[in-house]
């Protein structure tokens, strides 16, 4: 139930609902999209970026907050750690316990490698757990990996590394089959046909889902499988620095117990960075849909050791973050709400865009509606637009919301808003790190041998924007691939003498560039203490 200040606008939305359901707004032309993005998308706001002065991407612009971390001091000095005192000795060290890390560990274990997961929180405390809408795969008669490729390539502004994207789409059906065989419950018709819908920017209905707990269902199944296999999971322990060997190859990591702060050495033949995204950096002051540990740690670990970043200047702002009530500010409202028929509506009850434009375009369009056009609704903590959820029940029949998006219904019901009867208020929220560490098609970084990367910490799979449902897919496809390849590589690697010399080298480069900073990285966790809001 909304307070009186919203009632006038709410009446306009209700009055226009029938007409809005019937209306099929035009999609924007390529030129319209380009102009809209340039004027309103946060990635185009030059003042929010800084140029890196050290490291492999020296001279390139990244978000100011990320620049500070990439140029920062290590949490340790080389002589804080005795590298001969080895606590863990494995073939494959997986850093991160989300969907990519778990998939990698399962495959590495299946390939016979001694595998270990280290994670700063618990296994499953990850963005994978929070992915709601679904996972793409071209497995229907009217669809093909080639059509999937074109949708994703265009949606990512033709910037994806083609060989990575081709791998993503070609291995997608196999990824779904793998998950299904592990026991993941996908939404199916009685004859076994997968129930699939559109996502923003898809030209075929290829979004597979498990209600709106798609990521949670995948993550809890992967976690269960990791535990069944007896793969060691060292939780509440962060990797704070990579260990290299004399030839500059990855050979382990320095770990830190998050509670006791004890430092430990993990030696490995290959290392997989699967540390996820960066929403908790709150770039440009945005709220985020991400989990508590999303602080770009893997980018920092890789960068300091010499690995290159790709597209680190592009972030995804999910168009529909919850804007009201304040308790769930920034929480994800899944794109599936629009897949099921809900449209975006402004203060006057007018539909102002096609609901299934790509995420960057939709986010920019909402920002324009709330700024230049002055058509936003004042929520008390900012402007927002309506997402008219009751349309779903009108289009799909009563009960559609409860059966297809129960998590959304529950999230708003906790605050007295029944989304079957009332629309909700939304505004873009920081959602996904499009860029990350550069990899080749086997998942290894070109600059640091034996260092693999998988999941959101990778850059280049999607280009400069990602389609809904391609991230759950990428954590599975590239997670599995990294696990297999890291295990294979580990069979022949003979690591040389371990060293942390790259810390001193980076310090010298920083000093030579005239940078003085007290900042240390990786950040590990955001600091929300003694503040009444996260941003």
């Amino acid at each position: 139930m909304y307070a009186t200040e919203f009632q006038e606008s709410l009446k306009a939305v209700e009055a226009a609902r029938e007409a809005n359901i019937a209306c099929e707004p035009a999609r924007m032309t390529a030129k319209e999209k380009e102009d809209l993005l340039a004027a309103y998308h946060p990635d185009y706001k030059k003042s929010e970026f800084a140029t890196l002065r050290v490291g492999p991407n020296k001279g390139e612009a990244v978000p100011r907050e990320l620049c500070e971390l990439l140029e920062a001091n290590s949490r340790i000095h080389a002589d804080d750690v005795d590298l001969s005192d080895v606590r863990y000795d494995v073939d494959v060290l997986v850093i991160g316990g989300g969907g990519a890390g778990a998939s990698a560990a399962i495959e590495a274990d299946a390939a016979g490698a001694r595998t270990m997961i280290v994670t700063k929180l618990r296994i499953g405390d990850a963005n994978t757990m929070m992915a709601e809408g679904g996972i793409q795969a071209a497995d229907k008669e009217n669809d093909s990996p080639a059509i999937h490729f074109l949708d994703a390539y265009g949606g990512g502004h033709f910037a994806a590394k083609r060989e990575l994207l081709a791998k993503l789409v070609c291995e997608a059906p196999e990824a779904i089959a793998w998950l299904n065989n592990l026991g993941v419950e996908f939404d199916k018709a009685p004859d076994g046909t997968m129930i699939t819908t559109h996502g923003g920017g898809t030209s075929r209905k290829r979004m597979h889902a498990a209600k709106d707990y798609s990521g949670a269902e995948i993550m809890r199944t992967l976690r269960d499988e990791v535990l069944n296999r007896g793969i060691p999971v060292v939780d509440f322990t962060a990797a704070v620095e990579l260990i290299l060997d004399g030839k500059g190859r990855a050979a382990g990591a320095v770990l830190m117990n998050m509670e006791t702060r004890e430092l430990m050495v993990a030696r490995a033949k290959t290392v997989i960075i699967a540390t996820g995204g960066a929403g908790r950096m709150h770039y440009q002051g945005f709220p985020t849909s991400n989990h508590y540990g999303a602080t770009a740690d893997g980018l920092v670990l890789g960068y300091r050791a010499g690995a290159k970043l790709l597209y680190a200047d592009t972030l995804q702002y999910h168009p529909t973050g919850a804007a009201f009530p304040q308790q769930i500010f920034g929480a994800l409202v899944t794109e599936k709400v629009r897949s099921l028929g809900a449209k975006l509506v402004n203060r006057q009850g007018r539909v102002f865009m096609h609901p299934l434009e790509t995420r960057d375009v939709a986010a920019a369009s909402i920002i324009r509606e709330c700024t230049a056009r002055g058509m936003g609704v004042d929520t008390g903590s900012g402007e927002a637009v309506w997402l008219d959820t009751p349309m779903i029940e009108r289009i799909g029949g009563e009960g559609t919301i409860e059966s297809r998006i129960p998590a959304m219904m529950r999230m708003f019901m906790r605050y007295g808003i029944d989304i079957r009867r009332e629309p909700i208020l939304v505004y873009p929220t920081l959602h996904y790190q499009n860029g990350g560490l550069d990899i080749n098609v086997d998942g290894m970084t070109p600059n640091v041998e034996n260092l693999f990367v998988a999941g959101e910490a990778v850059g280049g799979i999607h280009g400069r924007n990602r389609l809904m449902g391609n991230s759950l897919l990428d954590v599975i496809v590239f997670g599995r691939s990294a696990g297999k390849n890291a295990a294979q590589t580990a069979k022949t690697v003979r690591p040389g003498k371990p060293t942390l010399a790259h810390i001193g080298k980076f310090d010298a480069e920083r000093a030579a560039a005239g940078i003085r900073t007290d900042a240390v990285s990786p950040r590990l966790l955001p600091d929300y203490t003694r503040r009444s809001s996260e941003t």
Binding site: L121, R122, G124, D125, M129, M130, A137, A138, D139, S144, P145, A146, I147, F149, L150, Y153, G154, F158, R162, A166, C170, E171, E174, A177, N180, L182, G183, V184, E185, F186, K188, P190, G192, S203, K211, G215, A216, T221, D224, N228, G230, F236, M258, S289, H291, Y292, Q326, Q327, P406, A407, R410, M411, R414, L525, D527, Y528, T529, R530, R531, S532
Partner: protein, 224 residues
């Protein structure tokens, strides 16, 4: 000026803004959380919490990230609870009642007190899904337990020592793998890809200049 309420974190009093969730209130009070905090959005089950309002007899349970503070709230978080997770090989088990008897025999000691259901922050009918598991009705157990975030609150309240979330996890995997209908179109497509059916199409796309791909993309046909 923000309206403040008094809450008691592990018995100690703090004054916090009334609109905060329990999790945000702990941070406002100065806690840098390491445990008991995961997704912050009600999906991961890290922040199981137990509380009582001063003067009230009833003990309540919730997720700290999904619940607003109230005046006089006595709060204890349960960042870890020793659930029993049995290991098994998903390829070697079969979806019969036998497997529950083997792995989680304690479910047959359920006394029907319904404390699990009353405590569930997701409002699931926990006792009912355990009943389905007892009878080997794994499809029903899977459906009834689907929204479980595995916070473990139910198990803290159970006099029979049942690890409900793990029982449901097993049921869902059995259902997803063995009982739900198979997807023929998916299996066919995997086979086609193995046979190289799409190789030429993909390679042709990969080899095209960007301008040509832009044309194709901007004029592609979109399924209604």
């Amino acid at each position: 000026m923000e309206k403040m309420v008094n809450i008691y974190l592990f018995g100690k009093q703090y004054s916090v803004p009334e609109q905060l969730t329990i999790m945000r209130a702990m941070e406002y009070a100065g806690y840098q959380l390491v445990r008991g905090c995961g997704c912050r959005n009600g999906f991961c089950g890290a922040c199981a919490t137990i509380y009582r309002i001063k003067g009230d007899r009833e003990l309540k349970t919730c997720l700290a990230c999904q619940t607003k503070v109230e005046e006089g709230m006595y709060i204890a978080t349960l960042p870890f609870f020793p659930l029993v997770k049995q290991v098994y090989d998903i390829e070697k088990v079969s979806p019969t009642q036998q497997i529950m008897m083997q792995l989680y025999p304690e479910i047959y000691a359920c006394v029907g007190c319904n404390a699990c259901t009353k405590s569930c922050p997701q409002s699931l009918n926990v006792m009912q899904y355990i009943a389905y598991a007892q009878r080997g009705e794994f499809d029903k157990c899977a459906e009834e337990s689907f929204d479980c975030v595995m916070c473990g609150i139910c198990s803290t309240r159970c006099p029979a020592g049942i690890s409900h979330p793990q029982v449901a996890m097993l049921a869902r995997r059995l259902n997803g793998k063995y009982l739900a209908p198979r997807s023929a179109h998916l299996e066919n497509r995997v086979q086609e890809i193995h046979n190289g059916t799409f190789n030429e199409l993909i390679e042709a796309l990969m080899g095209k200049p960007v301008e040509e791909l832009q044309e194709l993309y901007n004029h592609r046909d979109i399924e209604k």
